[in-house]
């Protein structure tokens, strides 16, 4: 049987790239600075310095998933930890061994998985079960958004039950201290609100809120902490309306083929990587982009 065509995240329209399926990362990028969004998400400019941090986060994240899956299937703690360690070694070992940052290298990833087993094996959070009997882990969604012109996608790490209520749960790895400042970053937050919106309004799940399950990694230690966010529906609907406006604005910028800069975002998160490019004359910017960045457009745009 012929498979229907997969919907593309990015397409060329009138010769220019446009995003059709949004996610929280691209939404936050656009809302933060449309010019940065254009260069990063649409044109595909990536910094030439490879970010090992991404590999580390994935290693920890997937290692924890193996722990959860093993536990759900009835393995003992020792069996689950050994399986997760083996998985991280096989899938990420060689790449993480190249990391110069010891807080985000292979030993740190193995420590995070091992300590996680100790910390949360007897957990109050119970992984929810899908109607087919499988654990509710790593659930992807892609749903219509707004007037149907856009779609929104995401990946829910897990759905857990706590005191009879369902919560979406997302694992975050960070080097930052896990204090109220850190957890304050998630309220309000595009990911928290959009995932709750999709779960409640589109997937029809009775979700009480969102849990940030954070892991702080240092050179010699790992720390764990969690925060629960109960978000009322009127807040979610306000987010939805705001986001529909933001996406309409993106269409307007696409139609004009002008993505304005927002200089208030230049110094966020240690400084925007395009600061030097934006500080140069518009006529010279392509030189900076070509010298300092690799151009790797999204695969959907490469196929076009």
């Amino acid at each position: 049987m012929e498979q229907p065509d997969r919907l593309k995240k990015f397409v060329y329209q009138d010769g220019n790239p446009i995003q059709k399926i949004w996610d929280t990362s691209s939404l936050s990028s656009f809302a933060s600075c449309p010019r940065m969004y254009n260069w990063t998400n649409l044109q595909g400019y990536k910094s030439k310095v490879y970010g090992m941090a991404t590999g580390f986060g994935s290693a920890v994240h997937e290692g924890f998933e193996v722990l959860d899956m093993q536990k759900f299937n009835g393995a003992t703690k020792d069996e689950a930890v050994a399986a997760a360690i083996k998985y991280v070694l096989l899938e990420f070992g060689e790449a993480l061994n190249q990391s110069e940052d010891k807080a985000r290298g292979l030993t740190a990833a193995l420590r995070a998985v091992t300590w996680r087993g100790e910390e949360y094996w007897d957990d109050l959070f119970e992984i929810a079960t899908m109607p087919n009997g499988k654990p509710c882990l790593e659930q992807r969604f892609e749903v219509p958004f707004g007037n149907g012109e856009y779609r929104f996608s995401g990946r829910i790490d897990k759905v857990v039950q706590l005191e009879g209520k369902l919560y979406l749960c997302d694992i975050k790895t960070t080097k930052t201290t896990l204090n109220s400042n850190y957890f304050g970053n998630f309220m309000p937050n595009n990911q928290v609100f959009s995932y709750i919106w999709a779960a409640r309004e589109v997937l029809g799940l009775d979700i009480a809120g969102f849990i940030i399950d954070a892991v702080q990694t240092g050179v010699h230690f790992t720390r764990f902490d969690r925060s629960v966010y109960n978000v009322p529906t009127d807040l979610i609907m306000e987010w939805y309306k705001d986001t529909a406006d933001i996406l309409d604005t993106s269409t307007k910028y696409f139609n004009n083929q002008h993505y304005p800069a927002d200089f208030t975002a230049c110094n966020n998160y240690g400084g925007c990587r395009f600061k030097e490019t934006c500080s140069s004359s518009p006529s010279r910017r392509n030189l900076f982009l070509d010298n300092d960045f690799d151009k790797q457009p999204h695969p959907d745009l490469m196929e076009a």
Binding site: D78, V81, A82, I85, K86, L89, L90, G93, E94, L96, N97, L106, T107, L110, R111, T114, W115, E118, G218, V219, H220, F221
Partner: protein, 79 residues
Amino acid sequence: MTKEVEQEELTIPIDLLEKDPLELAESEEDIQTIVTYLRATRENIRATEKAGKRITSKSSRTKPKQYESNVLDMLIKEA
């Protein structure tokens, strides 16, 4: 009465941590050695944090000096 108790230092399984990860993944015994070592470092780090001391490479391998009496009793005594 307060008495300091020294703990012995853990041996880091350097040969295993520096081993080719793909080879290491195939040995259940080696994985178990690493898990046992990492679990022990957790105990040491927790004890270090509880004692309010700085976390270092050494403190992950050695438990800080433990006190047999209550810390509050010691503070009162010192005051």
